[in-house]
Amino acid sequence: MALTSLKEKIDEAVKQQLRLVDAVVGSTGFPIVPDQKTGDPQWIDVRELPLRYMLSLGGARKFFEGLAGGKLQATRCRACGTVYFPPQVDCPRCRVSDVEWVDVGEEGELVTWTVINVKPLTFSHHGDYVVGIVRMPIGVNVLAWISVGDPSGLRPGQRVRLVVGRREPEGYVTYWFEVPH
């Protein structure tokens, strides 16, 4: 599902609510509707504030170059050896900003997991998804979806394999883990 079609779906739900507000404004001149449960008057904000941020990638731009090439990368401080995931290009530990990009590795051990049933609106078109934290061989943890049919069989310490690819229906390049057969 492309961003525009997801937005259309959300807008359609909002539009239904706004039609009611329009009708109320038409008859009373105020965007005031009674609360469905208590009847207390509620003013519907008609000065909509669309919040869409632009995030500067800063030092993380290389991460996305790596991901586009199928690699999940962390940074390692050349001065003190500290490994950072999520990657960061400044090392607060030794106050030196000289890092190298390193692969996190392909296979890791499952540390903990959950199944997200109640989702944020922008994930609502997905089925329930399993999220886990996986310990990778270079000593960092990675948080990602676990692709597994039945999560009740998952165990701590279980080996899982990293996959970089596009997640449909949006088509965002991302990363997740698979349970090897």
């Binding site: 609360d35 449960k37 208590t38 207390d40 509620q42 904000d45 995030l55 993380a60 995931f85 999520p86 540390v111 903990t112 997991w113 959950t114 199944v115 997200i116 049933n117 109640v118 989702k119 944020p120 609106l121 922008t122 994930f123 609502s124 997905h126 998804y129 999220v131 934290i133 960092v140 943890n141 990675v142 948080l143 990602a144 979806w145 999560p151 165990r155 701590p156 991302t174 990363y175």
Partner: protein
């Protein structure tokens, strides 16, 4: 720890106020805050002209008023003495208390007011969930993974179960206990009890967390008036409750950078600091309000605050040791779970409860038996992103 406690003045809580928590579509944010402020002033026997600084804690984002501190302060007739706005996510309440405390302890003010207020129901639940899910680490957790606040706690619950044998029943017992107290607290969001079966059978939110393991999205306000020892004497306060020790800490917002998922290190550090400053040990605490945003959070809090050793939190609740009159009476207000969790109000709501407990003013069936008169409030931001622990003594 640099401790200059000997150069600081003693500070007491001399007045507390609390709005009714719940879905408060009947009032504005300002009116809601005023409910708590008016009660706190009356409780202290003071008026606004006695307040030298006001600290307004509010997280915001879910309210239509994006910079709410000044309107809240103005509505309450405190325009010339503040506001100092404080924000520490779900721990804003105790952060506001700490700030007000420090004004008095340092001598910058003799009497200070701290209020925490939140109206969370001005946006829909899905938006509220997204705001919480974005907390701390947007790109790496929310964008890629679609985490939510319940999911973050669920990662801990899952690890705690696997490591220590904690069960979903243990977690359900926390909900049952806290609903029992909430049903006896007229200011609580939930006015009903629940059974273990109801909790276990409630809708899954993020396995193993279910709807009835979760604190609700609530509106509410709470306030406290703090005074120096001089002011306490001058005003002739009958039962001052002393702020005996404050501890604070934080933890990486990156879930993946944490050393383990079975406890909150920020709580452990904040508690150690608070106990040291108060000169007490965890076993001295008789009544505690802890941050049970989800039932697993209360189980971890027993352990991280030192009421029981790590891993034994499930057993602690199952044995009734956190019940009213148990080893520590925990969340006798109903906690976040039963009373509600209007973010910035929560920490000050805990102070309200502990002050009332230490003054032995609680309703029948909710007053903790006390010998040492030592109470504790524990307020957490996010999933241990920040933690505050305050020891209060009569």
């Amino acid at each position: 720890m640099m401790d200059r406690a000997e150069t600081m003045r003693r500070v007491a809580v001399i007045g507390v106020g609390h709005s009714t928590f719940g879905v408060r579509g009947d009032v504005t944010l300002q009116e809601l805050a005023w409910e708590a402020i008016a009660e706190a002033l009356k409780d202290a026997g003071l008026t606004q002209k006695d307040i030298e600084v006001s600290v307004v804690g509010v997280v915001g984002t879910r309210e239509y008023e994006l910079m709410p501190a000044v309107p809240v302060n103005d509505y309450a007739g405190l325009t010339h003495v503040g506001p100092i706005r404080v924000e520490a996510a779900c721990a804003t309440g105790l952060a506001a208390l700490t700030t007000a405390h420090n004004y008095v302890a340092s001598g910058m003010a003799d009497i200070a007011l701290a209020v925490g207020v939140e109206k969370m129901t001005e946006v829909d639940t899905a938006t509220s969930l997204a705001v919480g899910g974005r907390a701390g680490n947007y790109l790496w957790e929310f964008h890629f993974v679609g985490t939510t606040m319940p999911a973050q706690y669920a990662l801990y619950a899952s690890a705690h179960m696997a490591r220590f044998g904690t069960t979903e029943e243990h977690m359900a017992l926390v909900a049952v206990k806290n609903h029992r107290h909430a049903a006896r607290n007229p200011k609580a969001h939930f006015q009903y009890e629940v059974t273990v079966e109801e909790v276990l059978g409630s809708r899954p939110v993020a396995w193993p967390i279910k709807l009835l393991d979760s604190s609700p999205i609530s509106d509410g306000a709470a306030a406290a008036v703090l005074a120096s020892e001089d002011a306490v004497r001058r005003l002739g306060v009958d039962v001052p409750v002393w702020v005996s020790g404050i501890g604070y800490s934080s933890e990486t917002p990156n879930m993946v950078r944490r050393p383990h998922y079975v406890g909150l290190e920020a709580t452990v550090r904040a508690a150690a600091m608070a106990y040291k400053r108060a000169g007490i040990s965890p076993t001295d605490v008789e009544v505690a309000e802890v941050h049970d945003a989800f039932t697993i959070a209360e189980i971890m809090a027993y352990e991280d605050l030192g009421f029981v050793e790590k891993g034994m939190g499930g057993k602690f609740v199952a044995e009734g040791q956190s019940d009213l009159g148990g080893k520590v009476s925990v969340n006798v207000s109903g906690g976040l779970k039963g009373k509600g969790h209007p973010l910035a109000a929560t920490g000050l709501s805990m102070v309200y409860e502990i002050v009332k407990q230490l003054r032995e003013e609680r309703e029948r069936g909710r007053q903790a038996p006390l010998k040492r008169y030592v109470g504790l409030a524990h307020n957490v931001a996010g999933i241990g992103h920040q933690a505050y622990v305050v020891v209060l003594r009569r």
